[in-house]
């Protein structure tokens, strides 16, 4: 789990000054979570690697536009999110169906869903079956443990929509895992 202290020590200011080591540290920190988020949505390894590279290059070019250094992580993911949407548009894979705006309980804990060894494959299969709109939210929640506000910012969605999508996605995951187990 990413600690708040870890986030504040990210060398964003140094990276802005053009320090290559700072960039290396930032990329090293985010490359895997970013890749997991992208590949789970795009489902193509090479395209996902390309998007990771494009995201890094965009970050280098546009870091000056980032106002709050503490939000580097969510800013980087929002760049990747935009690139995924562009990919979906190009390939017409997007299906952003709305699933209502019911409010779920407040900020949930990503680690509340603990999965035993037997159910790990089932979890991944169930995750694959989620619609992209829900999968995107649930991945941001699981992979980088972003808060609901941060997810809303990254996905450019109202907070209520994020809450409801996360609630329905987790419920669907639990149900499907249970169903497959029985």
């Amino acid at each position: 789990m990413l600690l708040a202290a870890e986030q504040t020590t990210l060398p964003v200011a140094e990276a802005r000054a053009g320090d290559a080591q700072a960039w290396d540290a930032l990329f090293r920190r985010f490359q895997m979570p970013l890749y997991v988020y992208i590949v789970e949505l795009v489902r193509d390894e090479q395209t996902s690697l390309d998007i990771v590279q494009e995201t890094f290059l965009s970050a280098v070019r546009h870091l000056r536009s980032l106002r709050n250094d503490e939000k580097f992580g969510s800013w980087l993911f929002s760049i990747a999110h935009q690139k995924i949407i562009q990919f979906w548009r190009r390939h017409r894979q997007v299906s952003f169906e709305e699933i209502g705006l019911e409010q779920a309980a407040g900020d949930p804990d990503p680690s509340e869903l603990l999965i035993d060894k037997e159910n790990q494959e089932k979890f991944l299969a169930c995750l694959d079956r989620l619609p992209p709109s829900q999968r995107s939210i649930v991945l941001l929640h699981f992979v980088e443990e972003f808060s609901l506000d941060e997810i809303a910012e990254i996905a450019e969605l109202p907070l209520g929509t994020v809450k409801s999508r996360l609630f329905y996605a987790k419920r669907a995951l639990r149900r499907n895992i249970r169903k497959e187990s029985s």
């Binding site: 290396d24 590279q53 890094f56 280098v60 190009r90 990503p110 991944l124 699981f142 992979v143």
Partner: protein, 141 residues
């Protein structure tokens, strides 16, 4: 027991070396930009056009093709059709008005010439005689 994050990271762990490669590539570019910083503006313009193409044109090729076809048909109609009939009388009227003006002008010119001709036939006014003659005339009256 594992968290979803651990499961997902485990699933994609084999991609780690490739990600390291990408990181090295981006850092190389950061240290030594391929076309130099001076070309950044030109590159951003190209990026803008490329983005415009990617975002606006490429996602809806049929829509743009349809729009182009509609414009082609409109263009074809506007070029192949003769001058709209509604404009013909206006054109003819203009031509007629010009003819009338020329006719009136010709008439005026002839009248002027005629007047000048009459003026040429009339005897010029005789210059006044000597003052003694004028005085005798006055006395006789």
């Amino acid at each position: 027991m594992k968290t979803p994050k651990e499961i997902l990271f485990g699933r994609h762990a084999p991609a780690e070396p490739k990600l390291d490669g990408i990181r090295a590539l981006v850092l190389d570019e950061l240290a030594d930009p391929p076309a130099g910083r001076t070309d950044e503006r030109a590159r951003s313009k190209i990026d803008f056009v490329a983005t415009l193409w990617r975002e606006l044109i490429a996602p809806w090729p049929t829509a743009w093709a349809g729009l182009a076809a509609v414009w082609a048909v409109i263009g074809w109609f506007s070029w192949s059709e003769p001058m709209p009939r509604a404009q013909e009388p206006v054109h003819a009227q203009t031509r007629q008005a010009a003819r009338n003006v020329f006719a009136r002008l010709k008439e005026q010119r002839e009248l002027l010439a005629h007047e000048l001709e009459w003026a040429a036939l009339e005897p010029p006014p005789s210059p006044p005689g000597p003052r003694s003659e004028i005085l005798s005339t006055i006395r006789a009256v």
